[in-house]
Structures are given as structure tokens and as C-alpha cells.
Amino acid sequence: MQRGDGGGARDTFDQAQQTGRGFSPEHDNFEGSSGLLFEQAMAQTRMAVCLSDPRQEDDPIVFCNKAFEKLTGYRQDEVIGRNCRFLQGPKTNQAQVAKLREAIRTEDVLVVELLNYRKDGSTFWNALHLGPIYDEQGELRYFFGSQWDVTDIHLARAEEKHAKAMAREVSHRLKNVFAVIGGIVNITGRAMDSRSVSNKINERVQALGRAYEPTLDEAAFGTIEVGQAIRSVLSPYDPEGDRFIFEGNGARTEPNAVSAMGLTLHELATNASKYGALSAEGGTIAVSWHHEEDRHGRQALIIDWKETGGPAITQTPTSTGTGFDIAERLLAYSRGTLDRNWEGDGLRARISLPLKA
């Protein structure tokens, strides 16, 4: 039978025994077939493992495997006989170390993440798993420690955190920019005695701001989630949160589609507030979205708008209003369409926006 790397572990045992520091495989049932399996497993695992002997002064390490050497840069003979605190350094979180000490004192199992130092002074994040090992009489014999290098996970977490913080900052600033724009428009409207015009401008600009706002967090994806933008645009028309019924999956679209989509939804909601479902007590609007192939065979984003519970509609309104004209025209620039059907119990509308292949 090939021993392979198992020899390394045997060396360790031998060394530990030779140094007379109390690690004895025979005494600890590491002999026979289970001993061999233990050795081979220890030698081959990529997980760094060490054992310490709490019955000796200062709980020294009495065994470590190859992976431990590889991870820490220390050779076995530099490790055996020392308390494992030599892996700590100036930036190691002392609160975590205190947890470690407490777990050793109370013979508890613990997993902590520690910043540890290699022999060459470089650092790594160590997910340390620690637990007591008892003998047949129930006496504490060893502490088992497994070390796993989780530096890459820590880096990824830090990057993600940074990206989120940046997105939040951008979002905050954008909100402020839109607030300032709102101020400028209002002030100008007042000065020129055109409050009704400035109010309309502001409503549209702010609807646009809301449509773009949820896109920032996700700018990295290149596309945005439709549902978030829809909810955000429509939120001011439903302060109690009981007028809109949203239904859709995580369909995504290009950020470019947001302005036409946002403005169209704003016009539909404004219309509903004046004449439709939102003008009557208890009226509701179902808004759903999905992807499908449009009439030209292109993938398109479809948003369906269905009002119920509003005033009864007896005839199709003759004047459609400038708001809808602007919305239709904007959609047309994106090669999209807005279809409206005035049915008895309320307006049905469908926004269709082709997606770039």
C-alpha cells in the first residue's frame, strides 16, 4: 500500500513523541487501521489542522499537519511546543481572541474569524474552528483546531460593502439633485406666474427621478429590474399602499427604457387620480409586467395596467391629453407603443417596449 504523503504525518507524530511533549498515538488510540486512516487523512486534507495539549503549561501545540505548515509558513518543528497565539499580530481583533480564550476555558466549540500572520509577516483571514477532544474517561486531552484561509471571502465582502456604500452615496446625491431641480422649477414658476406649468414640469421630472433611483444600486448589472422602477414611480400616488396590485417577475430592461416607461406610468397614474380608479374610494389598479415577443418578433417588455373600481366609463374620452401624447411620442423613440382601451369598469393600458438584443 502506498503511503503517499502520509509520511509527513508520521514524521510529525514521531517528532512530537521525540520531543516528549506528550503526544502519543498509541496511548490515544491512533494506532492500527484507524491510526493509519487518521494519518493519511491529516496529511492529505487541504484543511490546516493542529492539536494542542491543555494539560501542559500554556496549552502548547503537539501536532500539526502539512496544510498547517503550508498555510502559516512555519515548519512543524517551529510550531510544536508553542501556544498558537504566535499566529496573532498587531491587527488581530482582540475581541475575537477573547472569545477564543473563553471557549478554551469553558471547553466549548467555537468558530471565529481572525486575522492571522504567517511566518513571513503576511496576513490571512483564518476561519478557526476550535473544539475539545476527550478521552474514554471523559478527560480533556486535546484541543482540536482547524484553520481555513478565508481571505478571498473577506476581500469579496469588503468590495461588496464598498460598492454598496458607493451606490448609496450616488443615490443620496441624485435625490438631492432632483430636490434642487424641484426647487429651481418651483421658484421659476412662481417668478413667472406659471405655477400650473411648473407643477406639471416638476411632477414629470420627479417621476423620472424616482424611475431612475432604484437603478443605481444595480448599475453594475447593466440592466435594471423593472418591478423596482415601477413601484418607485407609482409610490406617491398610493400613500396608503393599498391601491396598486403589482404582479411581475424579476424582468429586467435597459436603463434607457426607464425614462419613457417612467413618464408613461406617471401619466397613467395622474389620469387615474383625476378621472380613473384612484379618483374613487376603493378603486384599484393592477400593474403587471413580463417579457414577450412583440408583433415584430422582437423580445419586448410588456407592462399591463388595469383599473377597476373607478367611475364607470360610458364612452371613450375624445381628448387624450398632452401627457399621453408626450408619453406615446417618447415610447415611439424607443420603438415602443402605448395602447389604451376604455372599458366599462376602467382603463386598460399596455406599454410595450422592445428590448435590445
Binding site: 443620496h172 430636490a179 421658484i187 412662481r190 420627479q206
Partner: protein, 120 residues
């Protein structure tokens, strides 16, 4: 409501709010820092306030919020980032108007607040 305190470091927003309050028949003292706001509180009677939360250079409206709470003067927090409003301000449970909000809406909300405050 006759006299309102505005604490806001962005000029356009401050001006818009001031004009909106004037349209509603209230006089608004515009301040850009807590120091100025304290001075305004010292020299005139204030019936209500709109406070921007982040005033730049790490300053927040917290000291003024504490003072207004002590004097039982109703106020709104007007902010673009609720997460950064800070724990202390969140504990005030003061109504929050998210920026951007229409200035008329802010005015209406403060008047509403004053109404409930007076009847309470």
C-alpha cells in the same frame, strides 16, 4: 401657524420652501446651521420647523431637534437619506419627508402636524 423655522443648507430648496410657506400665509426664517437656528429660536416665537438632516461637514440637525422636542414645537425631518439620519434622529420618531418632496406637500404636512399637535 404664523412663524416657521427652516433649517436647510441647500439654497434652492430653502428658497422654495420659504416661498411655499409664504404662499400658505406663514413667515419662514431660513437658517443654514444649528447655530443660526438657535439664534432664530431665541429671537422669535416659532410654531413649527422643517429640518434638513445633513447640514454638511458632518453637522446634523440633532441639537435643534432636541431643543424643539423640549419646547414641544412640531417639526419635520426633510432628508434624502434616511439611513444616514443617525440613530439619535431615528429615535425622535419625528415625521420624515423624503427628499425630493414637493414644497407644497412639505408645507401641508407641517400644518397637519401642527393641527394634531394643538388638539393633542
Amino acid at each position: 401657524m404664523k412663524s416657521v423655522l427652516i433649517l436647510e443648507d441647500e439654497p434652492f430648496i430653502a428658497m422654495d420652501l420659504q416661498l411655499a410657506f409664504e404662499d400658505a400665509g406663514a413667515e419662514a426664517a431660513v437658517t443654514v446651521s444649528c447655530d443660526e437656528a438657535f439664534a432664530a429660536l431665541a429671537e422669535r416665537a416659532i410654531d413649527g420647523a422643517v429640518l434638513d438632516v445633513n447640514l454638511g461637514h458632518g453637522e446634523t440637525c440633532e441639537p435643534i431637534a432636541v431643543e424643539l422636542r423640549k419646547r414641544r414645537i412640531p417639526f419635520l425631518l426633510h432628508t434624502g437619506d434616511l439611513d444616514r439620519a443617525g440613530e439619535a434622529l431615528r429615535d425622535f420618531e419625528a415625521p420624515i419627508m423624503a427628499k425630493p418632496s414637493g414644497s407644497d406637500d412639505v408645507v401641508a404636512r407641517l400644518f397637519e402636524l401642527r393641527g394634531t399637535h394643538e388638539t393633542a
